[in-house]
Amino acid sequence: MMTQPNMMTQQIDTTIDTTDESIDRPRRDSRWGRLTGRIRQIMSPGARLLDLGVSVIERGVSVIECGTRVIERSSRVIGRGAGVVGRVAMLALVAGFVAGCPAKESGGSDAGAAGADASGAAAGSSVASTAEATEGKRPFRFINRGDIITLDLNDMSYLQDFRVTYAIREGLYTLDPETFKAVPALAVETSVSDDKKTWTFKLRPEAKWSNGDPVRAGDFVFSWRYMLEAPGEYAYLFYYIKNAEAYENSYRAQDGAVKAEDVGVRAPDDLTLVVELTNPVPFLTDLLSFPPFYPRHAASMEPFKSVDDKGRVSYKPEYTRPPAVVCNGPFVLTAWEAGRRLVMERNEQYWDRANVKSPGVEMVVNNDPQGAFIQYEQKQVDWLADVGPDIAVRLFNQKRPDLHVAGAFGTAFMTLNCAESISELPGVKNPLSDVRVRRALSMAIDRTKIVQNITRMGEQVAERYIPPGFFPDVKSEPIPGFNVENAKKELAAAGFPNGQGFPRGITILYNADNPTRTQLAQFLKAQWRTNLGIDVEVKGIELKSYRNEVTSKNYSVALVAWYGDYMDPSTFTDKYLSTSQNNDSNWGPAAYDDLIARAASEPDEAKRNALLSQAETMINTELPIIPMYHYVNYGLWHANVRGLKMNAKQLTVFKPVYVAE
């Protein structure tokens, strides 16, 4: 249930190189073969390593990227041909260093590992003395996706932040560690009114905060209201609650039109929470298991309160740092060094502490995929949550048993600007505003080539917008798939036979820090030229600039992605409402809005699914976006890790996770 913004930056890939395997194979056994393999492996992320180059130059291929390619090529040549000379030179170099190093250094890594174990054991024992029998003897260590951005529930939007929040906080519902469906946590009893608009939750009386205070219904009311008073990216999820959006706007303007008490969340007593919705929300429990809906401990946040000149209250995000932070999850945050690490220890106040199996969890920061992988291989960490795509492809081909892959709740697609006139085509009617052109573009792409040659992790080719397998009851028409004949016909019908007269200037925009997208853009350009006879440009720019261009609809074609936030088709279909902030396509017929609105107020599940199917069919056939493939998630963990499971939304339930000896 989260966005995966870093997806883009993490998608590193080596060039599509068929010679890759053929060079590697005969040499793989030898040390030299491993060495050259490593050189290439380490060289390949050069482009990412020097993101700076891209951001400064803001062009598709930075100078540094070119340089890296050259080095990569030449290292390959050395690996292939240099033979004796290269080996001797390398050996001499190594020998020189060997001679120069004191003898005890050769045992260095062992000493380091022993040291790490000792410290781990020490930490373990200090915790074990206070805890009941835990199955894990030492803290579970992992490398998250990048560093933590924020642990303030209001502003949170990155996967790595949510991941840690699942360990230290808990809501009315949590996730089942096997099925990842929402199951009750702080709620012991849930009842729904007949019109499905009023939900009443009875709270677990023994639930406590990490400082010993009981968790009360008022903590939810406080937290949810604050979500609207200082809204972040996920405030929109609260708009299902009565008067929530109105209160957010009223509070911003400080006009007093809507009061805090008017919002549909109340606490009649300490253990009862009543939630009133504007429409039936069948996926409410799923939302309640998502961090923005977690409670907060108001008293501990009080010292961080500040009031602005308009009288609006906000809390400085410092409240999320130890020792000030008060949590209610299986673990408590005990140390947080920005950019370095995060330490969590078992929460002795947690109501279900008997089922928390690890004495602690430690998050290590390493933003470099190669370095992170080496740390994992040297067993400095138990779990590598985010694997560099080039490494993942290699391990995937080797069938490594510790690589875990699962289909993701997300789709890679391109968004088309459907406005009649766009800035890239001054004085010309935008051909993309014609549905026949959009259909032709979709039918001219051989998607199997994308997953086989570019992404290479067993991704599924997209036949629809919504990823398959999650909502069997939503039965929509598929998109027009690969068919060159029909593509040509559609294009001719739109007035561009064999691409003649197709205006120049259509550009595929993407973020240049993502090599997969760089390849994808080139591939699409080639496909359209070969199959339709039309020429488009490709343009890779720096990530923030790219986001800016897309959200301000200043593009013609852009490579984008969408991950669902909650387990309901509406998390995908709502994006293309004409009123949605996230609709970048300039497409938004009234009929579509109408379908979504009817689905939202429909209490009958079958009818609702039928309406959403119709809505998705509209997207699949009118193609404001052209779906390409569905993502997969992957992670690495060692065989002695228990309780982890790969899943579609990349969620982590830390309670059952521990390291077996």
């Binding site: 060289m43 260093f97 380091g112 200082a230 400095q380 600039s545 902030q581």
Partner: protein, 311 residues
Amino acid sequence: MKKVLLYRLLQFPLVLAVIYLLTFLLIWVAPGSPFASESRAMNPEALQQLAQRFNADSSWRFLTYYPVRIVTEFDFGPSMVKRGFSVKELIFSGLPISMTLGLAALGIAVVVGMLVGTLSAVKRDGILDYAGMTLTLFGISVPAFVTGAVLVLIFVAWLEWFPIGQWGSIKDIILPAIALSLAPMAYIVRLQRVSMLDVLGADYVRTARAKGLSKSRVVIKHCLRNAFLPVLSYLGPAAATTLTGSFVVEQVFSIQGGLGRHFVEAVTGRDQTMVLGLVLVYSTILLAMNLLVDVLYTVVDPRIDLEKKGA
């Protein structure tokens, strides 16, 4: 001397103010906001409200709030991206890491560089000279991410002598310090060699030799000090760059929390307060280093008079 020092020190605030304004201008006009995330669009009004919490909803508000705070409280404000941490805190937790690494690298570069440079000049056209010149060519032209990667590959991934991504013991510093020292070392070797050759040809050296002093004595006593000046002028900016962290080396060796990474992340994330804080700290170090070098000039060569030069 004291007058010049005072004069130079008084220039600092002015120079820093200009740097601050120019940097602010650049980061402010860069597309994208530190508050907008990379996946979900936010209601523009909510975005504005968030920016207001950071006193960054307008350039006027920013400029009337942050510079004042820097001057009065020596506080750069909160980081706009790493929410919950102040810029000051992030910089001063990263500075020791980058400085340790930088000092180690600089030490290696100066010691090895001076030694090889001097010997190459003394034994001109000898084996050491040719070997030194060839290797320095590599040092200058091969970027740190290549040498760093090769070091990681050999000593970490292959031989497994050193760990990666750790910080605290000498062992964690050796490899990155070597990688970081190569480029300045190569420059120092070449500068030292050239200026040593100059000095060796000077009349007073011939005189000293004619008096019957041994060659090594002449080199150490008479030449080193005079040949050191060009190296010294290079050391100022080189120290500033190595001490304030290298993104490339930090990345290759997975050193976490250093200034280099903070800098790059701040720029790509449009973390305005963080960028400005880092630029100010970096500029201050650069200015201080240049001043220090000027002062050291007079120590090394008493003929140089800052009063006259400064005036």
